[in-house]
Symmetry: D2
Subunit: 341 residues, 4 copies
């Protein structure tokens, strides 16, 4: 029996960043590799091997002209973790080639940080540290005038995908009633998980703590604007954990700046944020430089998910770990990455 | 049947701070009240009523001279939440008078904050916010050089009382292996709760995140000193959540200042901390002005616990909610308060 | 320092039944022992040593005449697990002698069985096995005409002590709304645990599955009688897990026999049940010969609890594991054992 | 905009058995229906409408000759819950037609019963009831000679699909170490769920309680035979919850009959089991007439899952609730149903 051939083209991720030693060993055992690191694999190199390849790991350009030659190809796993224009998805769907991404690898890292930030906003942790450094702190009860317990507070989730579900697991002991809005997830699934399905307006207007996990699609850019921010109850906490493009960012900053609600954000319309940008000094805003997902452990999980599904696929079984590109939605997601780096 | 007589002497806590409307209504239904607010109840007022009183709620002075007259007294509930020298405990033990304090009322508030601070130290939340305000932030992976996941990290608890157990409930979904040191709690109880009993040295030397919840007793002042801090692994996180007196504070600051480990503290040897105290500018220290416990909701829980046990006691049943003064330990606790605010 | 003296008088339990090897080793390390097995320790033997004893483990007769000589005695731990007339409790309370029993050792064993029996009644497991042995089974949907899901069903607890709390932990993933009735437990504690406090009538009339865990006291014999059984909704499941004396047993059997509700019982007014007793052939009754608690593992837990508290007591610390005799309730419990063998 | 057309052909399930009132209302709102009940929809009726149909709900014959006319068809949802030969799967895969089945609807019903039966085998519940009816019961400890605690026992899962995961959720508070064998599920997924992946031999030889949830495939018939049963430790409990064909049934009965291990089975090679079949009188076997899954509530869940995905599909979104037929495995599953009832 011939060993499978695997094209390994992980750029922009160094292999060592996504495969730890144990995972690398399992990867190496899968077959024979055509590997290129440090840049996108050169076209000539791809073309020389594509006809023999069982599996592509990477963001290799795979339009129809190449795919027609890839008679043995069973799956493409994008370890950069986005569904980009590099692939002819329709060809893949018609020909039974799985297109996968281990994007959920970031979910636990983001969720842990999101919970920490939610407690921070509720209890004023960073703000109180700053006051103490400035010599303006208050002690005990006086220091908690604006604090509230996260425990028992009404939580709202905008987006109920992998990030939200990881957060939900972590926040479970806080006994918070949880509502979620996600037009791609049926009530049935939310209710099974103990979450109340709700409209966006209901989530915004009835929650004390609002987590935004919704990725950007072709349709939802800026869907949180002046009208929506106006629905949020004064004194609530709003955490933007996904993409800056889902909010009208200037309006968002206006509301936080006026103290209408407190907020945390991990994302900004332009990154790095320009020096001197007023966002850097808003008192009620907890600032995070797009760093909630990018943890070494999360990257190693990209490798683990990749190998787990690769092992199944090469045994002739369907993948069950990575996200699958879906005929109905891939074009809506394609325009912009939805996952955290 | 005559209605019970209750002496209500809540100073230094205003009644409205510990009894919300619903609890106050249940309290009022319990009997007839002799009430004094705004200062300690005057001696004459206590003496005029003590012979008829079934229950004392407060920190009223109750030495033997008064207690011998209190023939009907069944319980004393100290709503300031400390066992102080105001009471002749031996007399109470001999005569079946319960001495109680709803000190666990602060446990959830402290635990929620402690978890938030632990995530903060692990993921660098406050430090990253500060860097972004100073214009020196790093993005993505580069911003997480010193970060680690709390999920799965080895957790050590110094003290396994109410605070630790509340923290344990909240941290359960993080799948952290947990060790605890508490000379007053048997292995049996820890193991039943899924915690590994350990020596102090083992907790310090093997944990990535160390929570100190131990109260001050006559015997343990400064028990965390140079030798003990030396056992903590570099890069760990240390959270002081109980009393400053359990650590050698200057040595503690020395270790954190040198970057040996990162830390958070809610308590200080002198409060308020003097302006200009160098503690205010230690980079690796998360500062909290004795505010993790003093939440309005925690104070209302003092009232709820008080009424719950008072209702039982006046029905001739034993109290089951508040902490009970114990013959063996009350004198060790008495010298100094062990509860938060 | 002299080693503590411990009087070990475990009858009617053989030492080997309550102390496994590991626990026995810890026990032996506690001090010097005066031990008698196989029968109650002879009076002369007790009298010869009582003046020097720090701790009694057993159901030794300790009336005032003996206790006055027991100047060093700090605690009595009854490993038969009942508070009997053998002890002068008032003397103990006045003199700070703890009277303890590791009765909660049976809680997990009873709870596991209770959950199994509840699923059995809901889903008809034993009844369906019997039908199949008799050749009268029905398949699939037809075999489930009288079945209901325990998951999501309204659960009622009569008694909210150790047994009920163990059951509550095991049944948590079934997402059942739970109400409890227990006049000795305040609403506060139930609500903290996620249980709705309710009157006995409400528990009986609104629950689909009713667990009776209440022990017998001086006051509650036969408190579940014709009126109470009449409140139970047709088709419900009723599980008697504590003592036969809390129900009017003939009336109970009448209701089950008529098919008014289905039931399980672990206890009977006379044990062993006479041969030919009609209780043995009631179709809707799941029969258990007082065997839900008496598991070897539960008995070893008696030993573990005993040693855990003995260790604390001999170090001068208060016990925290065993149940403590309480001034207010011990006389009500004393008349009859409340724990499972 | 034209309303979607839905072909509703639910035979052999009556509509009222799978759609409760609330679900039926949501179903009816989805579009215009071509409905046939009581038998398979006549060919002429299917042919008359297939060209206009957006969705088929049922086990309608859909070979290539029909599918080529079904230009608008987006999905087929088989509410009988098996992937049968009625469909040309390759055509569907190539043309982006989802083939779905709400088979996981039975998972909770089976899991609840499986847990009840596992406690039954561990604690001897049905056997003890039978003894008491026969007048041969033993009381207390004597009645538990063969009993063991499920709590803490080593659990093995053969098959880690929906049934196993539901069981896992229910058994979580029992603190059992769990191993699982499933060649279609990667280690990664099991480990994330807190289950240790293991070989079949390891699961069989190291578990005290073994649940068989594996469905029948083209490859695994009779994979539990003499060699495998020989690996099971004496005194263990073995529960057959999926299909009789996965075990060598006579050998299975031989082992149970000799008392080598105790067992429960919900399935039999021939159903109904013939009168007089010796299986009906094996002492150590808990008998269940294929009734663990077929609960009314489980059937209504078929309806809910169907409507949840139908709503998504008709909005142009991918289904996320039902199981999807997979190119790699559907032919292996097709030969025989794998779901209950």
């Amino acid at each position: 029996m011939t060993r499978p051939k695997i094209l390994l083209d992980p750029h922009p991720r160094p292999l060592a960043s996504i495969f730890n030693a144990a995972t690398r060993k399992r990867l190496d055992a899968l077959g024979d590799f055509i590997t290129h690191e440090g840049s996108r694999m050169p076209d000539a190199m791809v073309d020389a091997h594509i006809a023999d390849v069982d599996l592509v790991i990477g963001q290799t350009r795979l339009h129809a002209d190449r795919l027609v030659k890839a008679k043995k190809l069973r799956a493409i796993i994008d370890v950069e973790t986005n569904f980009t224009d590099a692939i002819d998805y329709d060809y893949c769907f018609r020909n039974g080639i799985h297109v996968l991404t281990p994007g959920a690898a970031f979910a636990d890292a983001v969720a842990e940080s999101a919970l920490g930030m939610a407690i921070d906003l509720a209890r004023g942790i960073t703000a109180a540290d700053r006051k103490m450094r400035h010599g303006s702190e208050s002690y005990g009860l006086d220091g908690n005038v604006d604090s509230f317990h996260l425990m028992g507070s009404a939580v709202g989730l905008v987006g109920y995908g992998d990030l939200a579900r990881s957060l939900h697991r972590l926040i479970a002991p806080f006994n918070c009633p949880i509502k979620a809005y996600d037009p791609w997830v049926p009530d049935y699934l939310m209710q099974r998980n103990g979450v109340a399905p709700a409209s966006l307006d209901e989530v915004l207007s009835t929650s004390k703590v609002i987590f935004v996990f919704a990725g950007v699609t072709a349709e939802n850019q800026g869907f949180l604007g002046r009208r929506e921010f106006g629905l949020i109850r004064p004194g609530s906490a709003f955490l933007l954990m996904s993409r800056a493009a889902v909010v009208d960012f200037p309006v968002f900053l206006e509301f936080v700046g006026k103290g209408r609600f407190r907020a945390a954000t991990d994302v900004f319309p332009v990154e790095p944020v320009p020096q001197g940008d007023p966002v850097r000094s808003i008192e009620g805003l907890l600032l995070s430089a797009h760093r909630t997902g990018g943890m070494p452990e999360a990257l190693f999980d990209i490798g683990r998910q990749t190998v787990a599904d690769a092992e199944l696929i090469l045994k002739g079984l369907p993948p069950v770990v990575c996200r699958k590109a879906q005929r109905e939605t891939v074009s809506r997601l394609r325009s912009k990455p939805i996952d955290k780096t």
